[in-house]
Every structure is written in C-alpha cells, then in structure tokens.
Symmetry: C2
Subunit: 475 residues, 2 copies
C-alpha cells in the first residue's frame, strides 16, 4: 500500500497518560500494553463510550495496530461498536486480509461514506485492496466527484505512478510573483488545498511542467520576486505508467522530495512525494527478502491454514529438487555399497555448492532490484563470480581434501573430493549469477524462482561429479 | 550513508542532449552510455576542459555513479584532472571504499575546503566514512565554526539520530503571527536558512518543542493568524541517541515528514526529515537480505580478493556444519553398507528440514527488524511455527513415505522416512523461530548468524533420526 501521508491533524495523544504512568516509550508509541489491555477490556464488557474514548486519541496507525492485535471475534465486536466513529485514515494502515474483515462488518455504505474524507491516493489505497465486486459496489455508492477521481486512478495498472500520485496539486504560472502566489494560496479553501505539499509546480498554459518552487524558497523571497527567478527546473518528470519500483529508485538516486507525474502528452496529472516512497522501498525490499526465503506473502498474524499453505508450495518444489538429487545418488548405489565413505562425504560437496550459490544469487537479486546489472555489467558480473567460485573452489578443495585424507586415509578419495568441490563451486557461481539474470530477462521475478534452480544445479552437479569421479577412479 | 538531501540547485541537465539524441531515459537518468563513453574518452585523452564540460551538468548522484564505473587508474586520473572542479555534494553519494580512493588523491586540504560548502549532516556523512587519522587531519584543517559542528555530530554514536539530523532549524515562538514569521524568514540570509525545510518548529523560551507549523499551512493562513492556532503538537520527539533503525520505524509507522530531535533535557537540537529516512530504510533492509544470503558487506564492484574474502568466512563456517553432518552419517556407516537405499534417501530429509528452517528464519528476522516480535508475540510465534511445522511435516511424511515405498518397495523404509520427516520439520520450526529470537536477546544480529545454527540443527536431526531409526528397526 503506497502513500500514507501524514495526517492533517497531528494532535494524537497517548491515553496512557490518563491511565497513569507516562513512560518515555509512550511518548513515541501511542499503543502501550496498558492501553491495549484497557481497550480489550472495554470490548469484552461492551462498554462503548469507554472504547471510543480510548481509541479516539490514538494515531490512526496505532488504531490499525490495535485492530490487528485483536482476534477475529474481538475485531468483529470492535467494528460493530465503533461503527459510527471509525477513523477512515485508520483503514489505510490495515493489511489486506484484516481490511477485508473490517469492511465486511463496516458495510459498503459505511465505506462509501468514509472514503471521500480521505485524500484521493489514500482512498485508492483502500479500494485497490478490495475484491473486484466489493470495489464496484463501494464505487457505485460514492459521491460522483470522488468516484470519478477514484475510477481514473484505478484505470492505471496496479503499483504504478498513476495510482500512487496525489491528484491535488498547487500550480502557478511562472510569471506570477511570490506575493501573488501567497495571496492565491490564502484564497484557496481547505478542500482545494492538498493535505500536505512542499512545492508549487510551475506550469505553462498547456499544463506542461516548467519547474517547481520550494515552499521554503517561496517564504524567504520578497513579495515582488517572480517565480521564474526562484524556480528550479524539474528534470525528473515521472510518466504516470512508470512502475512504483522505478519511481522509488529515481527518488533514492536523486534524493527527490517531490516529483511531478505527467501523462503521455507530458501534461501534469499529479505529484508524488517522498513520504509515499518510504512504503514502496520498504515493500520492495521486503518482497525480495521474503521471496528468497521462500515465504512470499507470509505475515505474522496469518491463520494456521494460510501459513501452512504459504509454505507448502515452496517446500513441495524443493522436494522435487531433493528427489532429483536422490535419483542421481541412486545411479551410484553400487559404488556407495563398495565404499561407504562416499555416502559420508557426499553431502559436503552438495552443501558447499548450495551455500556458494545462495551467496551469488543474493548478490544478483539485489543488484537486479537496484538496476545495477545493466547490459554493460552482466558479463563482467558473471565472469567475476566465476573467478570467485574458482578461487574459493581451490581453497575448499584443499581443505576438504585434507579432511577426507585424514579421516579415511585414502589419497584418491581426497583427490576426487577436491575435484568435485572445484567443479561444484564453479557451477554454483555460474548458475547463481546466470539464472537470476536470465529469469529477469524473461520477465520472471528472480527473487522468487532463482534459488530452486540453483539448488537443483548444485545438488545434481555435486553428487554427480563426486560419485561419478569416484566410480571412475576408485571402485 | 544517511541523508542525501535534495540539492539547492536542481538545474542539472543531460549532456546527452548536446551529444545528440535525447532519449526518454536520458530525461530521467543523466548518465547515459553515450555520456559515459565520452567521459572515459576525455579522461584517456587527458582533455581537461572537455571532461569538466561533460561532468559539470550532471547531477552529483550521476557524477558519483560515473566515478564508481571507472577503474582504479581512470579514477586516479579523473580525480587529478577534476581537482579544482570536484562537486563536494558528489562525495556524499560514493561508497566508502571509493570515497577513500578519491580522498587519497584529493588530499586533506582539498577536502577540508570542500566540506564547509555542504550542510552539516552531509559533511558528517563524509567524515564518518574516513579512517580515524584522516578524519582528525581533515577536521583540523576545517574552519573553526564548521569543525565544531562536525565534532559535535561525531560525538554521537554512529547510526544514531544525532548524526543524521540537520542542525539548521527554523524556529519561532508560538505567539508570533503568520506575518511576523514570513517577515522573519525573508530577513534571514541564505547561510542561516537550511537548504530545505518543510515546517517551522515552535519552541518555548527554554528551547523545548511545543509543536510545528507546516509551510503549506503557514502559506495558506492570513498574516494576522497566530502560529499557536495553526500549530500541530508534535508527539514524536526523537532522542538524539536513538538508533537510526528505530527512527526509521517511527517515521514509517506514523507517516512522519519532519520530526524534532531533542537532547536529554528535551531541548531541540535538530530535525530529521523523511528524505534522510529513505536511505536508512534501504540500508537496513539490504543489510538483512545480504546477511541472510551470507554476503554481508559485499558489493558489485569489489575487487576479486575482497570478494573471495567476503564469501570465504561464511562458507568456512558452513563447512564446519557440513562436516558435523558427515560425522553423524559416519556413525551409521555399517547401516548404510547393509542398506544403500538409506544413502540415496537421506539427503531428502535433511534438505526439507533446511528449507523449512530457512522459511521460518526469514519470517523471524523480518519480524524482529520491524519490531513485531515483542514479548507478547514471541510465544505465540514459536507455537504457531511449531504447528505449521507439524502439519507440513505430516503432509510431507506421507508424500516422501510414498515415494520411498514405490521406489524401494519397502514399507519400513517408508515409515522411517515419514517419522524422520515429521521430527525434522518440527525441529526446523522450533529452531527457526527460537534461535533468531534468542540471538536478538543476546544482542547478536539474527540475520547474520541464525541460518548457520538452523542448518546445523536440521542436518544433524535429519540424518540422526533417519539413520538412527533405520538402525533400530531395519538392519
């Protein structure tokens, strides 16, 4: 969920103070264990006024956290009790599945009334999390003005600039003076002003962006100064169809605070501010981390069934890999029968390859996400990884060879071990670097699928070279 | 590196336009392959004027990217040629090792002259990346005013709010009117104004923070309005000693744009803005991802030796784990000799445990980083993971048991396989959930060390239960 802009009214306080005992932590986090216990108590007792008086002073983010902490039955009661007093802003902070639960109790009409209170990007944030049918019902029940804005935003693909952007923009022509602009701003109603803005966008009569003036600059300049004289050109105009990940990279690279969003005709359609980017960066980094760990989409408070399901697929795919490795071992059952030391040592080769492969994959996935693996870098990266694999392969060939020699007093086992180690570390480096790049070019998320392929390669090559060489030279 | 605020002057353009062929990409990214080639050419030919004319119009972030893309010899030449024209802002975008290289050519005096051009947080950003000795020399050569500010910042521990914050703050008393505040701002010199600010902080005579007024609100209010009437209370005042990770979590949770930083006496000492947070979030998420993949601190353009070293330690620790697993297998060499099917199937049990453990560790590491695993959640999390492990353990016991039965036509192998699978999946869940929590409580980074322990557990338990049960019941 992109874009949880700071709320207009920051005057949230900690009810903990009223419950006695204002600690340092409760200065910073509104939801303390004491408040949580009091809220759960109020829900249990059905004490509506008390519940409202405990919830209202909390920041919407804390309210959402509280709703998440409740169990399903408590959440149901809570939503019924708070129905008329639910803070619409709070909904933007809820994860998708919890939002669905709350909305099912809150009802389509309740939501349709609440959404127009929010900025357009926040309303879209909630709408896009709903099921298609529910979304259509809520849209139909919304006031026509807000509905059209929301429908326009939803017409852009998910996760793109057109969805993230704020449509409320303050624009002025470049020939205006500082004084004129300030008078203009003072004349706008609260409804016309965005909740939060840091720049005035300077446009030409065709609504094309000429530049921007920071509010700090505007305030410190004299009234007669013309905007064009304090305007910065804005080279980073974001196409409305750009993916949020690309937008976040631009913001990061150039330290942007506000960027204009333009349509295909280069006309201004909205702005994106850095506070909307914070969530995107968090989200994108988390997605890669979770995907590499095989727990995409998992979260801490998911139900048991959802958790089992979310782990199952990944484990099942890995089981196929493991069975394939076993089939390879099965080819050499006669060899192992004659020399059981091979069965003892063979996991070492496979496991070292797997770990080296994971290292390279992690580096590749991160570099791809940060757009650091352009065409000019790919060959250099694969070559570099192959060299690293070879060097470490030689080092670990010596170490593991020595271990094998000391353990089984057999020079030939040691040599076979060393050769297999070099081969597998090289295979790990080549597949660890090459497969993510290939998947990315095919349009598949490398974070999700790479490691299965790499484990397959390192297991198969590991067992095949070790047991194969042993069959040739030892038995 | 925290804090790369937007530059005062945004008027960077793409020299690509002058080289012919303005593409859409070059609108957004200044450093195109054509520009890069032209710059490398100018360095090779020693054409100083041409180099400067190519570099100057680039955004400092692009300049830094260019410096990174050069090889060591080119970088040396580049720094010498650009010496008098180096953009100090560019230095803030360089990674630590490249910065060291550039500074060694640029020299202490050059750096000491360049740093005062920057905002205090940017100067500190560069200073903290230098070796202690070099840092002391540069500080000694800096003008006394800037030196004292930098020394004060450096007196705070690394990665804390006191280092990140901007010391240039605009403050007003609450009884001032909007008109008074704007006149005051107009009277300030460029040096007294921060490069960028979004709020005016309202303080009392003891410099304690009473609240803040957003510039947008200030601009849209009439001149006679008193600040106290448009002020928001600011409940999130950040202690100067707070770790940057905690600061980033506060900004994210509450969607903050600006937060005051206060000392132990609750007096205002600086502000942190959301654009400084973007880098922290990026950095912290990347650290966890890289640590889990066993490539902490690695980066794409590291030297071969540095790359080999950065991978070696992790692989070596994992080798110890693999050898331990082999020792366990060695206990059962007689069993394997008599029934070689065990050698074929045993990697499946270990590998499924390893993958399930990785899933749980990933979830745990992420939850710990997001401060979602408080005391109230830990037991619930471990219990939940154990349940997920048991359920998936039973499912995969059936699947792998069936595979073993069909493959080797031996019901007892199938039963042993199933029992070992359940035991190992449970062990994976318990260690995957428990070890990161334990490490975090001991003050060890769970992202770095957890997976080695978990692999050890799942390898040992996997081989031990499978081969042990087989020894008891089969041979």
């Amino acid at each position: 969920m992109a874009g949880k802009p700071e709320d207009k009214n920051l005057d949230y306080e900690s009810p903990d103070a009223r419950l006695g005992g204002l600690t340092e932590l409760s200065n910073l986090y509104g939801l303390t264990p004491k408040v949580e216990a009091a809220i759960i108590g109020a829900i249990a007792e059905g004490h509506r006024e008390r519940l409202i008086s405990l919830i209202a002073p909390l920041h919407p983010a804390d309210q959402a956290d509280m709703v998440e902490r409740l169990n399903q039955a408590q959440r149901h009661r809570f939503t019924l009790m708070m129905r008329q007093h639910l803070n619409a802003q709070m909904l933007t902070y809820l994860p998708e599945d919890i939002l669905e639960e709350v909305v099912s109790v809150y009802g389509v009409d309740g939501l349709a009334q609440a959404l127009p209170e929010l900025d357009s990007d926040d309303a879209v944030d909630i709408l896009e999390d709903l099921e298609d049918e529910e979304q259509a019902e809520v849209l139909a029940a919304m006031p026509v003005g807000e509905r059209l804005i929301a429908e326009d935003a939803l017409s852009y693909p998910e996760h793109c600039a057109g969805r993230m952007m704020q449509r409320e923009v303050v624009v002025c022509p470049s020939h205006w003076t500082v004084g004129q602009s300030i008078d203009y701003l003072r004349g706008l109603s609260d409804d016309e002003l965005p909740d939060d803005f840091y720049v005035i966008i300077i446009i030409d009569p065709a609504r094309r962006v000429k530049g921007q003036v920071r509010l700090g600059r505007l305030l410190s300049s004299g009234r007669p100064v013309r905007l064009e004289n304090i305007m910065e050109t804005a080279p980073h105009q974001i196409p409305a169809t750009m993916d949020q990940e690309e937008v976040a990279l631009l913001f990061q690279r150039y330290g942007l605070v506000t960027a204009s969003v333009v349509d295909a005709q280069n006309k201004l359609v909205g702005v994106i501010t850095v506070d909307d980017i914070v969530d995107v960066i968090q989200e994108e980094a988390e997605e890669d981390l979770m995907a590499l760990g095989g727990v995409s989409g998992a979260h801490l408070r998911a139900s048991l069934i959802a958790s089992v399901q979310s782990r199952f697929l990944w484990l099942f795919v890995n089981l196929m890999t493991a069975i394939l490795a076993s089939v390879v071992i099965g080819f050499f059952d006669k060899t192992i029968e004659r020399l059981v030391a091979l069965a003892v040592l063979m996991p070492i080769v496979a496991s070292m390859g797997g770990n080296a492969g994971t290292q390279t994959v992690t580096l590749a996935v991160r570099a791809l996400a940060m757009r650091q693996l352009g065409d000019d870098m790919v060959n250099r990266f694969i070559f570099r990884e192959a060299m690293v694999g070879l060097v470490n392969g030689f080092i670990f060939a010596l170490v593991t060879g020595l271990v094998a020699l000391l353990w089984f007093q057999n020079l030939y086992i040691a040599i076979v071990m060393g050769l297999a180690m070099i081969a597998n570390m090289l295979a790990a480096a080549l597949s660890g670097a090459g497969i993510p790049v290939l998947l990315a070019r095919l349009g598949v998320d490398p974070a999700v699928s790479s490691s299965v392929f790499i484990t397959t390669v390192t297991d198969v090559i590991g067992f095949l070279t070790f047991l194969g060489l042993a069959t040739l030279f030892l038995v």
